[in-house]
Symmetry: C2
DNA sequence: CTGTTAGCGCATTCAG
DNA sequence: CTGAATGCGCTAACAG
């Protein structure tokens, strides 16, 4: 790298602004680079993008100025101009345990792909909760990102400019590719574990009624019970809405009443954790007095007291597969399967206990 | 004159724009809304931004068209035009446990602030690892984001258009506001715990030499030992570089040799976890044969076998405070302290054990 | 080889 | 009240 800097050469450097541009109190723009280098903006652009038709001398001179000024192309301006941005967007309602796990998997998949990853959070804004994905998709797609991964979207009827993949969508999707976990099988696994431990008065804290994943988990609960010949006591099936607070109240009612259950299956770890909390407040020991099984296996569940036995969803794999699928779509490749379902399994920790007997 | 046909890239179907507008195979633009509504773009813009000087009739008509077409303003185009974007960027080298924890805290702080959060990942690209923050800062600041939080940046001498806050910077920063944890005190806490357990042959797996946080953790280690009147055996201080693989090799050498240590203090949880792994491979029981203490308290550390005793850094709080500080800066308020240091404490789990005696 | 011209989608003057 | 003109920073035609 030779610094072939042309010595002044009597250029019209009468503009003190040019020399002051080094201060960069304001963003350095291509225009400033051009002025400083004594060339046109298009020449600078060509140098940056390695286009042909630039003399080596000019190129290295301009490069020098770019270096000296610390110039970087504006992602925004470039995005506006170009069709392709090489950026993939991950849209999440909020940065919570589930979505951040997805992000880790997505980051794994992005590595070496030539794409970059932007995570966009709606900020947990409740006012316009429904449809946030549609809005952000519109605002980003086609200008900032080449494709997007929607994490637990409430809407899947998106009509977007580019490819979109949904992870664990709230509704049974048909229009866009999806990555989901095997909710039905997972729930059966969890409940069967409780049954194997001798429990029969098993309660369930369900998720949101409108979400297929929640529905499937409840269905799995019912199927496992039926399989074991245990009748479902409908009064033991309470709504938790996938929210800790709602689950708390449900658990309170459930555990404070006379014929309380000996075990609880919650449709999410967050809710299961809430159940354990309530149990403790009511003076019930977990797992001695009450067994609890969750769903998700978020990292936090291992921190609980006691550590939560739960149904593991391969969240990171889901993030990974979603991005891989999305890249295929963007590159125009035809993926083998547009709807992928990943397996679930049981993670045994210490929140479950054999009924009235010895520990599991 | 044909106004609805894109000048180039015209591989579109030759349907008239009006009827094709519902299809939205292409992004819906303000121009299309204007044509469809029979008004000018500036009128549409005014309606969207609620500017005065629009008749109610026109406004509602345009709103209807916007609704019908599902139009949303392009974040990119708006950013380019406006000074302010109301978006805060969090720049991370990669989505790993530490940075995702920071994100959760940042999300907490953003709620109700009127700002939105974008997380940008360099994608763990190693080729241009040093200086990624400077590049991304240049590319985003002033166009896409109003301010940025840098997570564990390697460079702090940034010369940016807008406010920037660094979390746990790699170098002792003076130029930009920082949020850090009390690394020195934390390390002393961890090592003192080991000393209290009767250990004297305590090894340390250090972090990267060039990072102040790593240096402080090592200093804390030395100070705690000195305080207890225990001489540092330099052969027990090995480099781990904050990387699991490097730590593995260091641990292997450390534990396989004759006079092996009875306890190890690692400068990060990831490295501590690697040490435990190696110990198991060598047939050493943790904590019976070897006590291990980590640093960070990432969620994963509780999942380990055995669960890791570690020094907790309030990572989420750090994310929260960074965003709060940044918003103050953006709004032009003068924050009380530009360099905040948060406390650390010891989390006792089950990877430590009294020397040769009964469990801790 | 290099500069000029023309927008990408939007918001803001300033005229009608 | 509304529309035409201007430019944010950049890239891609087409001229010189």
């Amino acid at each position: 790298m030779v610094q072939t800097v042309p010595p002044d050469g009597g250029d019209d450097r009468d503009e003190s602004a040019a020399s002051a541009s080094r201060q960069a109190s304001r963003r350095v723009t291509m225009q400033q680079v051009a002025v400083e280098a004594g060339v046109s903006v298009s020449t600078v652009s060509k140098v940056i993008n390695g286009r042909y038709g630039i003399s080596v001398a000019t190129a290295s001179h301009v490069s020098g100025v770019i270096e000296r000024l610390g110039y970087e192309t504006s992602l925004v301006a470039r995005s506006l101009r170009n069709q392709r941005t090489n950026v993939i967007g991950v849209l999440v309602a909020d940065f919570e345990p589930f979505s951040t796990e997805v992000l880790k998997g997505a980051a794994d998949a992005i590595r070496g792909s030539g794409f970059e990853l932007v995570a966009y959070s709606a900020g947990g804004r409740v006012d316009e909760h429904v449809g946030w994905e549609r809005r952000y998709l519109s605002r980003l797609m086609g200008t900032l990102v080449d494709g997007a991964v929607l994490v637990t979207p409430t809407v899947t009827e998106v009509d977007s400019d580019g490819p979109v993949v949904a992870i664990d969508p709230h509704t049974g999707s048909t229009t866009i590719p999806t990555i989901t976990a095997h909710n039905l099988q997972g729930a059966r696994l969890g409940v069967r574990h409780l049954l194997d431990l001798g429990h029969t008065r098993i309660a369930m804290v369900t998720g949101r009624e409108d979400l297929v994943s929640a529905q499937l988990r409840e269905q799995g609960f019912r199927e496992a019970l039926a399989e074991a010949g245990v009748a479902v006591d409908e009064s033991l099936v309470v709504p938790g809405a996938f929210e800790a607070e709602v689950a708390r109240e449900a658990a309170m009612a459930l555990l404070a009443r006379p014929g309380r259950p000996t075990a609880v299956f919650a449709a999410s770890d967050q809710m299961a954790l809430a159940v354990i909390e309530v149990a403790h407040e009511l003076g019930l020991a977990v797992p001695t007095d009450l067994s609890v099984v969750g769903f998700d296996n978020i990292p936090e569940s291992a921190l609980a007291d006691p550590p939560l036995t739960t149904v593991r969803q391969p969240i990171r794999d889901m993030g990974h597969d979603a991005v891989a699928l999305l890249i295929d779509l963007i590159e125009g490749r035809e993926p083998a399967d547009l709807h992928r379902t990943l397996g679930t399994d049981l993670v045994l920790r210490r929140s479950t206990h054999a009924l009235g007997g010895m520990p599991s």
